[in-house]
Structures are given as C-alpha cells and as structure tokens.
C-alpha cells in the first residue's frame, strides 16, 4: 500500500496515566490532520512518531522503517516541529536553523548555508534572517520552527499544533504554506481547530482518550453529523448554543418536525467527542 505512516494498536503510559491506549490509524502523502481535545494524546503520538519516545506496546512503521531498529533512517527523513518549541535565546534566525542543519548531518558549509537560506525563504523570513529570535513575534517564531522542519527536504513532516495562538491572518498564511509543503510529502498536523482540518487536510484522524475514534476525509467527518443538526427557537439536543440570529443550533437526535441544517466539520467532530451522550439521549 501507499501508507507512509502505520500505527497499529499502540499504547503509551506515563506512570499510571494512559496517554495512548490501543491507537491505530494510517496516513499517506498529503496533509493529515490529527484532531482531538487537550489531553487526547496528540503530542504523545507526535513524539512517538518523531522517535523521541518509544511505545510501550504495538507496532509503528514510518516510511517503511521500524522506529525500534531503524531510528536513524527515519530521523534522516524527518522534519519535526514540537509543540511550543523553545529556541536558544541569543541566536539569530539563520544561526538557529544552521544549528539544526548541522544536527541533521549537513556537513559542507556552503551547501548547508544554501539550504538554510532556502528554507528561511520558503517560510518568508528572508528579511529577518539576521535578527535575533527573541525579537520576533510569535507568528514569526512559529515560522522559524517550520523552517527547521523543512531542512533537507524531509519525506515525513510532523507539526504539533503549528497554528495555536496565531491570529486569523497568520493562520491563512500558514495554511497556504502547509498545503504547499504537503504537495509531495507526508504531513501530519495536530490541532484542536476543526477549521484547520476543513481548510487544508485531505484526511482527518480524531483522537479521544488515546484512541482513534474517526479516520476519513473532512467531508466524511462532516457527514457524521448529517441529519443530526437542526435549528429551533428553543434549546434542544445534546449540544446546543444560540446563534447570531437568535435561534438555537442543536446537535443530537432531532425531533420529527425539526428544521435540519447542513452540518459543518465542527458539528461532526463535536458529535464524535460527545457521542456517548448523544447515544444515551436517543
């Protein structure tokens, strides 16, 4: 098959807390969104795929390699942006990316500097490449993180919540950048924003309590809520909130006379997360 990422029945615990329990999913070339509320296990999964953590049990294959035995091969083809990465205080953008390039085994200075300049240009930071990282805005800093993840043209790119804390305009630029990156690579992007997934992911995986509760296209995720979203003048359903027009938007099992409305990806996601409650209410 063309699956570049295969995760099969993987579990990982920290002490007594179980971060992943029997997680299975696959991903291939293109952008796959990992959705899940805080604590769902997204970061744990990312660190596992980045070969920073080892699974307690289960099987993982990345680009055809096994992280237990072929860690180096995977690392040579990997770009990784951790959640909330920290950078060396006094480094300039160029110095930081250059430092990571050395850790990525780029030895020849001339070729390495060309590559550093290329990735800095790719994320649109060429103008500030000589500026200290600590003087940059949060959005620019995030782009520095993406730039280092692109060094050496990796086949697998892992981005842990790259859009968290960005304003709407920065988000748009980010989505354009990330979908460009995903044209010929496997990109896994974790987020708790359904708009990110609807806007740029070919596939979505929803995590809940360390398990995969959905895998499919964003359209299929939207389909989860088909026929289960309606508008009414009174509060109803399992999840319900007042819209701008004064009506209530309800998710759950609609009454017979309900005015159904087309669902969004968000509706499908919410329904998955609160699915047990919805089923109980039927």
């Amino acid at each position: 098959m063309n699956d570049t990422v295969v995760v099969d029945d993987v579990s990982k615990s920290f002490g007594r807390s179980r971060a992943l329990s029997g997680l299975s999913f696959t991903a291939r070339k293109g952008v796959t969104g990992l959705l899940g509320p805080n604590g769902a296990g997204k970061t744990t999964l990312m660190r596992l795929l980045a070969t920073v953590l080892a699974a307690d049990s289960g099987r993982v294959r990345l680009l055809g390699w096994n992280p237990v035995y072929d860690r180096l091969e995977i690392r040579r083809r990997l770009g990784y942006l951790p959640q909330e990465p920290a950078y060396q205080r006094g480094f300039t953008v160029f110095e930081f990316v250059d430092y990571v390039a050395i850790l990525k085994e780029m030895v020849d200075r001339r070729a390495r500097h060309d590559e550093v300049r290329r990735v800095i240009g790719e994320v649109g930071l060429a103008d500030v490449s000589g500026k200290k990282i600590r003087t940059l805005s949060g959005g620019m800093r995030r782009r520095v993180g993406i730039a280092q993840a692109l060094l050496g043209d990796p086949e697998l790119v892992l981005l842990d919540e790259p859009t968290a804390g960005l304003d709407p305009e920065q988000r748009l630029r980010f989505r354009a950048l990330i979908s460009r990156i995903g044209e010929n690579r496997t990109v896994l992007l974790s987020t708790h924003q359904t708009e990110d997934v609807a806007a740029l992911c070919e596939r979505a995986v929803v995590l809940k309590d360390g398990r995969c509760v959905f895998a499919g296209t964003p359209e299929e995720l939207r389909g989860v809520a088909r026929g289960r979203v309606w508008q009414s003048p009174r509060r109803a359903g399992v999840l319900s909130w007042r819209t701008g027009e004064g009506d209530f938007r309800n998710i759950g099992s609609p009454p017979a006379d309900a005015t159904l409305v087309p669902p969004t990806v968000e509706d499908g996601y919410l329904l998955l997360l609160d699915g047990d409650k919805v089923e109980a209410a039927v």
């Binding site: 660190r47 980045a50 070969t51 920073v52 860690r71 180096l72 690392r75 040579r76 990997l78 990784y80 951790p82 990465p85 920290a86 950078y87 060396q88 205080r89 480094f91 300039t92 160029f94 110095e95 930081f96 250059d98 430092y99 990571v100 050395i102 850790l103 990525k104 085994e105 780029m106 030895v107 200075r109 001339r110 390495r112 500097h113 300049r117 490449s129 000589g130 280092q148």
Partner: protein
C-alpha cells in the same frame, strides 16, 4: 540609505577590477545587496563565473553567523567547522562561564596559599569539580532549549554529549593548569587532579542516564567533597591524590565509560 547614490560606470569598472580601496568596496557591496540596477551595471564588467562567486561570498558573509573567537580557536586546533559550531553553542563554553570558572579557581588557588591550614587542599578539592559543573550546564535541559528538535535529528545525542563534555573538560583543565601554575607554581601538584577530574566528569555523565543532570552532578560533587573531607582529616597529603587515589579514579573512569557505552541507546 542604499538609494542615495548609484554606481557610475567608472566606479563599476574600478570595483570590478579590484581598484577601489577596502572602505569604498565595502560600501559598494552594501549598496549592491539592495540595488539590482547596480548589480546589473556590474555584470558586463566582470566575467560571469567570477561575478557569481563574488556574489555567493557576499551573501554568505552577510547573513551567515560570524564565528565566535572560541570557534575560531577550535578551527585553529583542527576541529571541523560544523563540530566547532556545535561546541560553540554550549553554554558552559561561553566567555561568561569560562570567566566565572577562572574566578572560582583563582580564589581556590589563593586560598591554598602557604598561610592556609590545609595548604593546597582547597585548590585540589575545587579543580576536579569545575568540569563537573561545566558538564552539568552543557548537558542539562536548560542548556539546549531546542532539545526536543535535537533529539529527533540524526546526529547522535551521545556523541554530542561526549563532544561537549570533552570540550568542557579541556577548557577546565587548561584553566586550572594556567591558574595553578601561576598562583601556586607547583608542576607536580598540577598533575595529580587530572585523573580525578576525568573520573568525576565521566561518572556525572554515566549517572545522567538515570538522574537529572543537575542531580547527577550534585551527587558526584557531594560524594567527592565528603570523601575529600574524610581523607583530609586524617592525612595532610590525602590518599586521594596518591597512587591509591589515582588507581581508584582510573577504575571509576573505566566503569563509567563502560556504562555510557552499553547504555548509549537509552541516551537518545
């Protein structure tokens, strides 16, 4: 600033032939970086290949990091450029830390003067601990804020750690030798703490496989000072620096190095 003037043909020709002085050349280059028109003007004056090479060198010089003096020293000593860069970002190899280490040693050396009851013991107690502190700083989480990124990179974490530890040890030994000789002026005395320093540093690294580096360094330092005090109470010239001590140091070094070797996968 770059649009206040442009190169005329004469200046372009002079610059292309290298007839401008260094000051004027620098200002021309600064302008060329910002002005495509003048770059175009220069093109017919210079053979294409040479222009490309010059241009490469200019852009490389402009945004590439300037090597620190420490980095240049390493290069002189034959360390490859990329390795020198990895070492130069180590916090305990920064000038501020080296200066602090030198001051600590200096005080230890001064306290070890003839008037002190314990003679040179203060210096002998402090000198081997300095590289331990340096290694803790070089290896601790705080030392590399981007450690998560570094972990996921192919460069071996063990190799990086040992490289930095070796550099820290080298700098500390050089410092202690210079200060010890200058203040205490005893060459034989200078040799006896080298092996303990190596042993304590390696032990710190080996323990860091289980403990937080700070804990590991603290434990080693506590152990060292306790042992030192115990021995110093009974003997003026402690066994620690006699043949027994040297052999023990060698044993600690060998065991620690072996532990690091067999646990090298766990490090990353």
């Amino acid at each position: 600033m770059s649009t206040a003037w442009h190169m005329d043909d004469e200046l372009a020709a002079d610059y292309a032939r290298g007839r401008t002085g260094p000051t004027l050349a620098a200002s021309v280059e600064a302008h060329l970086l910002a002005c495509a028109a003048c770059r175009g003007k220069l093109a017919p004056e210079v053979p294409r290949a040479r222009l490309d090479r010059v241009w490469d060198e200019i852009t490389a010089a402009v945004d590439a990091p300037r090597p620190t003096s420490f980095e240049r020293l390493l290069r002189v000593l034959g360390v490859p450029e990329h390795t020198a860069r990895l070492l130069a970002v180590t916090s305990s190899l920064k000038p501020a830390w080296i200066a602090a280490g030198a001051v600590a040693l200096l005080f230890a050396a001064l306290a070890s003067g003839e008037t002190s009851r314990f003679g040179t013991l203060v210096f002998l107690a402090v000198a081997p601990i300095l590289p331990v502190a340096g290694v803790v700083l070089a290896y601790g989480r705080g030392a590399d804020p981007a450690h998560e990124i570094a972990f996921a990179a192919p460069y071996s974490v063990v190799r990086l750690t040992l490289l930095r530890a070796a550099a820290v040890l080298g700098v500390c030994v050089a410092l202690a030798l210079v200060i010890g000789l200058a203040v205490l002026g005893d060459g034989g005395l200078m040799a006896v703490w080298l092996l303990p320093a190596l042993a304590l540093t390696t032990l710190t690294l080996a323990l860091a496989g289980w403990l937080d580096p700070l804990m590991s360094g603290g434990a080693v330092a506590a152990l060292w000072f306790a042992g030192f005090a115990a021995v110093a109470v009974y003997e003026v010239r402690p066994v620690l620096f006699g043949s027994v001590g040297q052999l023990a140091s060698l044993a600690v070094f060998a065991v620690s190095a072996f532990v690091i070797f067999i646990r090298r996968r766990e490090f990353s």
